[in-house]
Amino acid sequence: MILRPRKQDHLLIGKYTGKIVIGVGLLMVIPLITSIVFQEWDTAVDFVISMSACFIFGFGTQIVCRTERDLSWSHGLVVASGSWIVATIIGALPHWLSGHEGSYLDAMFDVMSGYTTTGLYLMQDLDHISHGLNMWRHLLTYAGGQGIVVIALTFLFKGTAGAYKMYVGEGKDERLLPNVVQTARAIWLVSLTWLVIGTAALFGTGLLLGQEPVRAFLHGLWVFMGAWSTGGFAPQSYNTIWFHSLSYEVICIVIMIAGSLNFALHWALWTGNRKELRRNVETVSFTVTLVVTTLVATFWLAKSGVYPDAMSLFRKAFYQLASGHTTTGFSTIYSKAFISQWGPVGMIATMIAMAIGASACSTAGGIKGVRIGIITKAFLQDVRKMISPESAVVRAKYHHIRGILLEDGVVRGALMITVAYMTMYALTAFVGTLYGYPLVTSMFEAVSAGSNTGLSCGLTDPTMPDLMKVLYIFVMWLGRLEFMSVFALIGYGYSMLRGR
């Protein structure tokens, strides 16, 4: 029997969702200040309106939804997934008010793409948007990389047991420190330290490339945010090819890959446990799959004679594969050139890299290296069982911060999420083909959206059908939250209708 949620449940969910929306409103202070500094008064007004909407909703729910209860698991999951939808609807206001979006749906698409660190966009005339709006786009993706629940946990919550349940609902399950609020702050500490280092490196390179200081700083900051969050937003419509610089590309690769590492791994390395890098199942899995996919793409492109020398091969192939595998979405290849020059083998290698993705509890999306590692180990364990004597007990372990016994429950969990991702990729690609797009193109774009990568072969644009936009918004959200909390929200809605 399914229990119908009671008024107290609604109040609890409303209260915590409101707190998260207040967090989004507070985040808008930064683009507001940016637009005031650059005297972009129209943009400043847009942000004042949007902040007001956030605060009216957020503080309104604090008044209406008064309750002292703590969150249960189902509440935590529902708040985590539901708040992403509410934050997308309200967070789209600055985009829509700017006049650079074709419709409110397009604005919501761009905001969900930002929060989920996907990087696909429908914004028009990107090269001429205000600094304030550009700051908001990149801040969305930077904050979304850590998680909007993590933002709220950092500033607006006490360390309750319920807070941990929301944190898990957002697709993260690592406790860097015993307390979940301290964990959220540690995540920010890692991200902010890298922000300083990465922005400084890109700023310096921008100056050497001849950019004026203010532009070099803003571009450095925004490109860092796009790279670290594995989001893929860039201030120019030509993405990172706009810079035409090897050093800029190498710095981006360093930031992308660092951003795609598990925060627990960062913490282990930062606290002196350097051996973790070569022992961790995720880094081993990521290294192997990145090397193999790069090898396939490089050799295929060389054999096809697309690029004239080793330097061009290296710059194009590795950048594209590292960007795809970390689910960033930065590109130095035009989408039409990608289809015509890379061909099916190059596109499939990139697609496999995107589908796998990078680390769990990082800013990245996709199936995740830890699941690929677990499934591979389970497969090898079964082979060992088959060739061992019947009486032999074959046990396997994998290493993630500590040695963990490979139990059936762990393998089942990894397989279940992997199958869910594969099904999502396939169904989304199927809808694309129903609309008449070529199979490889619609598969590529489906994997890109579902794994929160953002590489595009040209399918995503403002003229695409509205249903495809809604579907991509849904799969970006589903992929980022890793299914369970979205299913919990759907189940909550169902129980409201059919429960007793």
Partner: protein, 50 residues
Amino acid sequence: MVNGKHAGRGLARPEQWPLYGGGVITEVLYVLALTGAAWLMAVVAEWLWL
């Protein structure tokens, strides 16, 4: 001190200060090693086909 360990809260513990153990440097070196491997692949591919 609790059980012989520093009892400071979370981030206040000395071994948890950022950059302890050269964490960022280790991460950068790891990525540069991957980049070097990709460069080698490109050189071999050029030698074989270009």
